[in-house]
C-alpha cells in the first residue's frame, strides 16, 4: 500500500491542473455560449468542401 503515497499526490496534482484549466476556460468566456458551438461544428467541414469544389470548377 506504500504506492498510495505517490498515487494520491499525483492524482491531486493532475486534478488540480484540470481545475486550473477549467478556471482559465471559464474566465476567458469559453462557456458563455453553450448553444452555438454545438451547431457550428455541424457546418464547417461541409461548407468548406463545397467552397473548394466550387473554386476548382472555376479554375
Amino acid at each position: 500500500m506504500e504506492i498510495l503515497k505517490i498515487l494520491i499526490p499525483m492524482a491531486l496534482i493532475l486534478g488540480s491542473v484540470f481545475v486550473l484549466f477549467f478556471i482559465w476556460a471559464a474566465k476567458s468566456g469559453q462557456f458563455d455560449d453553450l448553444d452555438t458551438p454545438s451547431k457550428r461544428i455541424l457546418l464547417d467541414d461541409d461548407s468548406d468542401e463545397h467552397n473548394n469544389t466550387h473554386k476548382r470548377k472555376e479554375v
Binding site: G15, V19, F22, I23, A26, K27, T36, K39, R40, N51
Partner: protein, 800 residues
C-alpha cells in the same frame, strides 16, 4: 392561370406566394426582400444556405428589409461608445432580428465573403448576437450592417457600456467556477470517504481526513457562498427561505466534522457537504439557463430594436443618427410608420398618431404643429419635424418603465409554497436539534450528543426542496417554451395554480386586433371589365402604410395571387381622408369613414361615382369561443375589460357568452387596474402597454402578443404566438409543476422524519447517512423526471 394558384412557394423562404416577383432566371419569390437575398447569395456562391435549410427542414421567414440607415456607424463618437478596440482591430456587437436556425448561423458567419472589410463574424445563436471584427485599419461598420439588413437580419448595435449585462455574465461565470470546484472536491473527497467506510484505518484514516479537510475548505468558503448570501439577505428581511437550512447544514456540518477530525474520530461528513453543495449549485445553474434562453430567444431584447432617425444639422440638412445620440433640444424628422424616439413638440407638419401603446386608444389622433408627442407612439400619417424635449428615462414611457421596474421589485405579499414549507421545516429542525442535543447530552455525554445531532442535521438536510424544486420548474418552463409559452419566473407557475378569476382584454387579445375585410359590395359592375375590384383596391392602397390600407392589400393578395396593378400618373395620400390617384383621364379616390357602430367602410370612387364598398372590422380569434368554454368548464370565472366602445364590447361579450356584469366597456388603463385590484386570485390576459398597469395589479398575467415591449416586461408569462389555447396549456403545466413539487415535498418529509428519529436515537452513523442522502436525492429526481416527461402536454390534450 387557375391551375397554378396553389403550391407555388417562394424560392427563398418557402412561404406560399401571392403576388410573385421574378428574377432573371424565372425563380419565384414572395417579396422583393426574398428576391434580393437570393441574388446576394447567388452572387456570393452561398447557395449552400438552401441545402442546409433542406437538411434541417427549418425554413427562414419572408425577408422584411427595414428602411433604416447606418451612417451613424461610421461616426467616431458612436464607434467609441459602441465599438471595442483590441489588438489593433475594431469589433462591435449587434442584436440581429430573425435569427433562428442552422442556416442563419451558416450565412451570417459567411459575412467576410460578402463584405471585404470584415475579418470575422461570430454569432451567438441563443442570444441572437453577432460580433463583427474588421480587418486592420478599418473602422467602418456601415457596409457590414447594410449587408446584414439586406440579408433580412436587421442589425441593432449593442453598447459596450452595458453594465448590467457585464454583471450578469460575471455572475454566470463565477457560478460555473463554483460548480467546477465543488465537483472536483466532491469526487476526491468521495474517494477518501469511500476508503474510510471500507475500513481504512490508523494513519490512512487520519491523512484522508486531513486531505478531505483541505479539499472541503474552498467548498464551504467559496462554492457555498451564494447560499450564505441569500440566507443572510432573507434573514435581514425577516423571511425564511430554503437557503437557511442549507447554509446551516453546510456550516454546522463543516464545524462539527472538523472538531471530530481534531479529536481523531472517524465521524466526518465532508463528503455529504460537498455533494450537497455541488448538486444544488448545478440544479440552480440549469434553471437559470432555461430562463435565459427562453427570454433571449423571444425578442425580449426589443429595447435594442430601434432604427436610425434623422437629425437636422446646423446647415439645415439631415443626418442619420442612432436614437442614443439624440439630445434634448435636437430637431428631428419622423417619417410615417416610425416610432417617436423622444417626447417633444411638433415644429413642422401635422400627422395622425397611434397612441395605443401608451394610452390604449384604438383610434389615431390628429396632431398639429405645437402638439406634444410622446416616445413609443407610432406616426401613422405623414412626415413631421419634432423638437426633442425629453429623451430616454426622462420621457413618459421611460418613467412608466422605471415605475414598473420599481413596483416589480416591491416585496410581494404572496407567500410561496416552498417558502412556507421551509419556514416550518427550518423552525422544527432547529428546535428538534437543540432538544435532541441536550437530551443526548444529559444521558450520553457531550461527544455522543454532538455526533447524533450532526447526523440529524445532515440527514434532514432539505435536499429535495433544494434540488428537485428548481429541476421541476426548469423542466416545466422548457416544456412550456417548446410550445410557445414563455414563463418568466418560477413564481408565476405557483401563482397560476391559485387563479380563480380570468380577465380578458378585448382588442388584440380575444380579437385579432387588426382590421380585416369582411364584406365587399360591387356597386357598378361595368367599371371592372379591365381590372378586377381586387386589382383596383390593391393598386390604390399598396403604397400606404395605414392599417386599413394594409388590411385591404392583404385581402386582395389572398383573393387573387396574380394581381395586375395600375400604374398611376399621380398619387396622393391625404391625411385623415384616404387616397386620390389619377390615371389617364380617370381619377380614383379611396376614402374611409366610420360605419354604423364598429365598422370601418372604405368607398372607392371613379370620377366621383361610387364603384366599390369594402367593410372592415376586427374579427374574433377562431379559438376564442372554445378556449373560454374550456376555462369555464374548469371552474374559472371569466371577465372582459375593454377600453373600446360599449356597443362593440356588448356584441363581443354576447358572442363569447360572457354573463351579465362580467364585462365592462370604455375603461381607461387606470380603471382596469383599479377593477383588477378588487378581484382576488386574478389572471389578466392582455396585450399592449395600456394593459401593463392591470398586469401589475393582477396576481399574475399573460401577454398574448410578443411585440409590445412594455407589456412583455410586466407580464409573468407571454405567448410567442397569439393563440388563446395556450392559456389552458399554461394552467395545466403550472398545476403539474406544483403537484410534482408537492409529491417531492411529502416524500422528503416522510424520509426526513424517519431519518431524524433514527438519528436522534443514534442508529445512523456517517456510512448510513452517506448512503441514504444520495438515495433520497435520486428518488426525488426520478419522481421529477417522470412527472415532467416530454409528452405530458400531448397526453393531457388527448384526454380533454
Amino acid at each position: 392561370m387557375g391551375q397554378v394558384n396553389t403550391l407555388i412557394h417562394c424560392k427563398h423562404c418557402h412561404e406560399p406566394v401571392h403576388a410573385p416577383f421574378y428574377d432573371d432566371s424565372k425563380n419565384v419569390f414572395c417579396c422583393q426582400g426574398c428576391l434580393s437575398v437570393y441574388s446576394i447569395l447567388e452572387q456570393g456562391n452561398l447557395q449552400q444556405f438552401y441545402k442546409i435549410q433542406d437538411q434541417t427542414g427549418d425554413y427562414t421567414k419572408p425577408v422584411s428589409v427595414e428602411d433604416t440607415h447606418f451612417d451613424y456607424l461610421n461616426h467616431t463618437q458612436f464607434l467609441n461608445d459602441y465599438g471595442s478596440f483590441q489588438e489593433g482591430l475594431w469589433s462591435m456587437s449587434f442584436y440581429l432580428k430573425g435569427v433562428h436556425c442552422l442556416a442563419c448561423l451558416w450565412l451570417i458567419e459567411r459575412l467576410p465573403e460578402l463584405v471585404e472589410e470584415v475579418k470575422e463574424a461570430r454569432l451567438n445563436i441563443g442570444k441572437s448576437l453577432v460580433t463583427i471584427t474588421l480587418h486592420k485599419d478599418h473602422d467602418k461598420f456601415k457596409k457590414a450592417a447594410e449587408t446584414l439588413n439586406k440579408l433580412g437580419y436587421p442589425p441593432f448595435p449593442i453598447s459596450n457600456q452595458d453594465e448590467l449585462e457585464k454583471l450578469k455574465l460575471k455572475e454566470e461565470r463565477s457560478l460555473l467556477l463554483k460548480i467546477g470546484i465543488a465537483g472536483f472536491s466532491m469526487m476526491n473527497i468521495m474517494l477518501y470517504a469511500g476508503s474510510v467506510y471500507a475500513g481504512a484505518n490508523g494513519g490512512y484514516s487520519l491523512s484522508f481526513g486531513l486531505l478531505s479537510f483541505i479539499l472541503v475548505l474552498p467548498v464551504v468558503t467559496y462554492c457555498a457562498s451564494p447560499f450564505y448570501k441569500s440566507a443572510w439577505s432573507s434573514l435581514k428581511n425577516k423571511r425564511v427561505n430554503i437557503d437557511i437550512p442549507l447554509s446551516l447544514a453546510i456550516i454546522l456540518g463543516f464545524l462539527i466534522s472538523s472538531y471530530f477530525l481534531l479529536m481523531g474520530k472517524e465521524l466526518i461528513y465532508f463528503d455529504s457537504i460537498t455533494t450537497l453543495t455541488f448538486l444544488i449549485l448545478l440544479s440552480r445553474f440549469v434553471l437559470r439557463k432555461v430562463q435565459q434562453t427562453s427570454l433571449n430567444k423571444n425578442d425580449l431584447s426589443g429595447i435594442f430594436q430601434r432604427g436610425s432617425i434623422q437629425r437636422k444639422m446646423a446647415n439645415g440638412d439631415f443626418e442619420h443618427i442612432h436614437p442614443d445620440q439624440l439630445n434634448t433640444g435636437d430637431s428631428i424628422a419622423i417619417l410615417p410608420n416610425q416610432v417617436f424616439p423622444c417626447d417633444g413638440v411638433i415644429t413642422k407638419g401635422a400627422t395622425k398618431i397611434n397612441l395605443s401603446t401608451l394610452t390604449g386608444e384604438s383610434q389615431n389622433i390628429l396632431h398639429e404643429k405645437g402638439s406634444k408627442v410622446f416616445m413609443g407612439t407610432l406616426n401613422i400619417g405623414s412626415r413631421v419635424e419634432v423638437k426633442a424635449e425629453k429623451v430616454g428615462r426622462e420621457t413618459r414611457l421611460g418613467k412608466l418603465l422605471t415605475d414598473l421596474e420599481h413596483q416589480s421589485l416591491k416585496e410581494s405579499h404572496y407567500s410561496y409554497l416552498t417558502d412556507t414549507v421551509s419556514k416550518y421545516f427550518v423552525n422544527i429542525i432547529i428546535l428538534v436539534a437543540i432538544v435532541s442535543f441536550f437530551a443526548n447530552y444529559s444521558f450520553l455525554g457531550f461527544e455522543k450528543a454532538l455526533e447524533n445531532t450532526l447526523a440529524l442535521i445532515i440527514v434532514t438536510c432539505p435536499c429535495a426542496f433544494g434540488l428537485a424544486t428548481p429541476l421541476t420548474f426548469s423542466r416545466i418552463m422548457s416544456l412550456g417554451q417548446s410550445h410557445g409559452i414563455i414563463i418568466k419566473t418560477e413564481d408565476a407557475l405557483e401563482k397560476l395554480t391559485k387563479v380563480k378569476n380570468i380577465i380578458f382584454d378585448k382588442t388584440g387579445t380575444l380579437t385579432k386586433g387588426d382590421y380585416s375585410v369582411t364584406k365587399v359590395e360591387v356597386l357598378n359592375e361595368e367599371h371592372f371589365s379591365q381590372f378586377s375590384p381586387q386589382e383596383i383596391a390593391f393598386s390604390l392602397e399598396c403604397k400606404s402604410s395605414h392599417p386599413v390600407a394594409k388590411a385591404i392589400t392583404q385581402w386582395a393578395n389572398t383573393q387573387d395571387q396574380w394581381l395586375n396593378t395600375l400604374e398611376f400618373d399621380s398619387y396622393e395620400e391625404i391625411l385623415g381622408f384616404g387616397i386620390r390617384a389619377k390615371i389617364n383621364q380617370d381619377s380614383y379616390e379611396a376614402f374611409s369613414s366610420e360605419g354604423t357602430n364598429k365598422d370601418t367602410i372604405v368607398n372607392i370612387t371613379k370620377n366621383g361615382e361610387a364603384i366599390l364598398k369594402l367593410t372592415l372590422n376586427d374579427s374574433l380569434r377562431e379559438e376564442a369561443p372554445a378556449t373560454l368554454k374550456t376555462l369555464r368548464a374548469n371552474g374559472y370565472q371569466t371577465y372582459l375589460f375593454s377600453g373600446d366602445k360599449e356597443a362593440i364590447v356588448n356584441e363581443t361579450a354576447a358572442l363569447l357568452e360572457f354573463k351579465e356584469r362580467t364585462f365592462l366597456a370604455q375603461m381607461s388603463p387606470e380603471d382596469k387596474a383599479q377593477k383588477v385590484r378588487h378581484l382576488p386570485h386574478s389572471l389578466f390576459v392582455g396585450d399592449g402597454a395600456n394593459d401593463s398597469l392591470a398586469f401589475n395589479e393582477a396576481m399574475t398575467s399573460i401577454a398574448t402578443h410578443g411585440s409590445v415591449e412594455v407589456s412583455l416586461r410586466v407580464a409573468d408569462i407571454f405567448l410567442t404566438q397569439p393563440n388563446l389555447e395556450h392559456i389552458n396549456k399554461a394552467l395545466f403545466l403550472a398545476q403539474k409543476a406544483i403537484n410534482t413539487v408537492k409529491i417531492n415535498l411529502s416524500f422528503s418529509l416522510m424520509y426526513n422524519i424517519s431519518g431524524a428519529v433514527l438519528a436522534i436515537f443514534g442508529f445512523i452513523g456517517p456510512l448510513e447517512a452517506a448512503v441514504l442522502m444520495p438515495l433520497s436525492s435520486l428518488t426525488v429526481l426520478g419522481i421529477t423526471l417522470f412527472q415532467t416527461r416530454d409528452n405530458i402536454l400531448e397526453i393531457s390534450h388527448g384526454n380533454s
